[in-house]
């Protein structure tokens, strides 16, 4: 899920801390974010907004964290509303639903582990790019 890529410059100590915090932001609210998926996204969005004029390293990692949360938000929201429709509407427990929830839980676990690794490495000044999400971040985040 994670690949290391060289970054154009060596980030300073304060940049490493801020970049690492962008991942921690989504970790801190994970207990709230699991039942209410939008909370994680909002937290990452606020963090990105506050650092949008920061250094390239900080901006880049804030945006990567934001994109990862956006993906998780879409997956988790679908699971959340599907569950709600089973509990309160006419939907029934089905293999389709169970397969989706199991898949989403596995993806959440991967994302959780990836976030911890990314937070630890960026704290040490090591640039990490997530597959696909890193490519997308490069498109939107310029030096």
């Amino acid at each position: 899920m994670i690949e290391r890529e060289p970054f154009p410059y060596v980030p300073g100590e304060h940049e490493c801390e801020k970049a690492s915090n962008s991942y921690l932001m989504s970790m801190v609210v994970i207990m709230v974010g699991l039942p209410i998926p939008i909370v994680n996204l909002i937290a990452s969005l606020i963090f990105y907004y506050n650092n949008r004029r920061g250094t390239y390293f900080v901006r880049w990692h804030s945006m990567q964290a934001l994109f990862s949360q956006l993906l998780m938000f879409m997956l988790n929201s679908t699971a959340f509303w599907w569950t709600v429709s089973i509990l309160f509407e006419d939907e029934t427990w089905s293999n389709d639903y169970m397969a989706y929830v199991i898949g989403v839980l596995a993806f959440n676990l991967l994302e959780f582990i990836g976030t911890i690794i990314a937070a630890m490495r960026t704290r040490k000044g090591i640039h990490v790019e997530w597959w696909i999400i890193g490519d997308l971040t490069h498109v939107f985040c310029r030096p």
Binding site: W93, N95, A99, Y100, I132, D135, L136, H138
Partner: protein
């Protein structure tokens, strides 16, 4: 760069979809026994709630009234392809004009409902309404919505005495939300028509109830109770739009209804 990123995003979406397609081939419902667990939860709750009401209100086991209720319920079920064997009918010895459904198809009628109904077809409408709540799974939906699955599971495991009392009160004292109440009304009309019972008295019953209710008109939208007058009109609209062949016949004969009324006037022996 942009196209490459876009292609990778599409690849990710494809991989996620493929993973889901593979996972859905597994019989997860069978592995996790979701249906059995759901049925066990419903059965456990239904039995506990019924025991609770039986202890607090007292059961009225009058054979004449029970036979009359059984006849109406059986007629509705038979005409609508509903498994009659699943429905357990009980009468509570209370003067309240009420009936309600519990999980696991317990249909509870207050003695007062037999007294305040002006004819057997009014009663049939109310019974049809409660059967509709059962068939549409409204009871579990309401309990889950108000108390949550974990709280309901704690009742079954014996650790939720207060929740049992509170949720039991909820089942009798407040109505379902407007959408579910209206659905149950309209389904009841369909049941009655299929069974050859005139649904108009059911509308009359609700209309009469509406005249008695003390819920102010201005609280109509925030009230948890559906306004009975509006419900009565909706039922009449449904009757007019629903085509039916053949005439209607009373759900109980005059003699049967008169016998029930005599017994209701003298409640007799209680079974607790």
């Amino acid at each position: 760069m942009k196209i490459q990123a876009l292609l990778k995003v599409l690849l990710l979406a494809g991989c996620l979809a493929a993973a889901w397609l593979v996972l859905r081939q597994v019989d997860w419902v069978g592995i996790f026994e979701t249906e059995r667990r759901k049925d066990e939860l419903e059965k456990g709750l239904g039995d506990l709630y019924w025991e609770f009401f039986k202890e607090t209100e007292g059961e009225w086991q009058d054979s004449t009234a029970m036979e009359a209720l059984d006849k109406v319920v059986t007629r509705i079920c038979k005409a609508n392809g509903i498994d009659r064997g699943r429905i357990k009918v009980h009468i509570l010895n209370s003067s309240e004009c009420n009936a309600f459904a519990l999980p696991d198809h317990h249909l509870v009628v207050f003695r007062g409902l037999l007294e305040c109904s002006e004819g057997p077809d009014e009663l049939a409408g109310v019974l049809g309404h409660e059967i509709a709540h059962m068939e549409k799974n409204h009871i579990m939906k309401k309990l889950i919505k108000e108390f949550g699955l974990s709280a309901l599971a704690s009742i079954i495991s014996g650790g939720g005495g207060e929740i049992l009392k509170e949720s039991a009160r909820t089942l009798t004292s407040s109505a379902y939300d407007r959408k579910l109440e209206q659905e149950a009304d309209l389904v009841s009309v369909d049941y009655l028509i299929e069974a050859g019972i005139d649904p108009t008295p059911f509308s009359d019953f609700l209309h009469r109830l509406g005249e008695q209710t003390d819920i102010p008109e201005e609280f109509y939208w925030i009230s948890t109770h559906d306004e009975s007058g509006v419900r009565a009109r909706a039922i009449l609209d449904r009757i007019h739009t629903k085509a039916h062949e053949g005439g209607f016949s009373p759900s109980l004969s005059q003699e049967e209804w008169a016998a029930v009324q005599r017994k209701v006037a003298q409640p007799g022996q209680l079974f607790q």
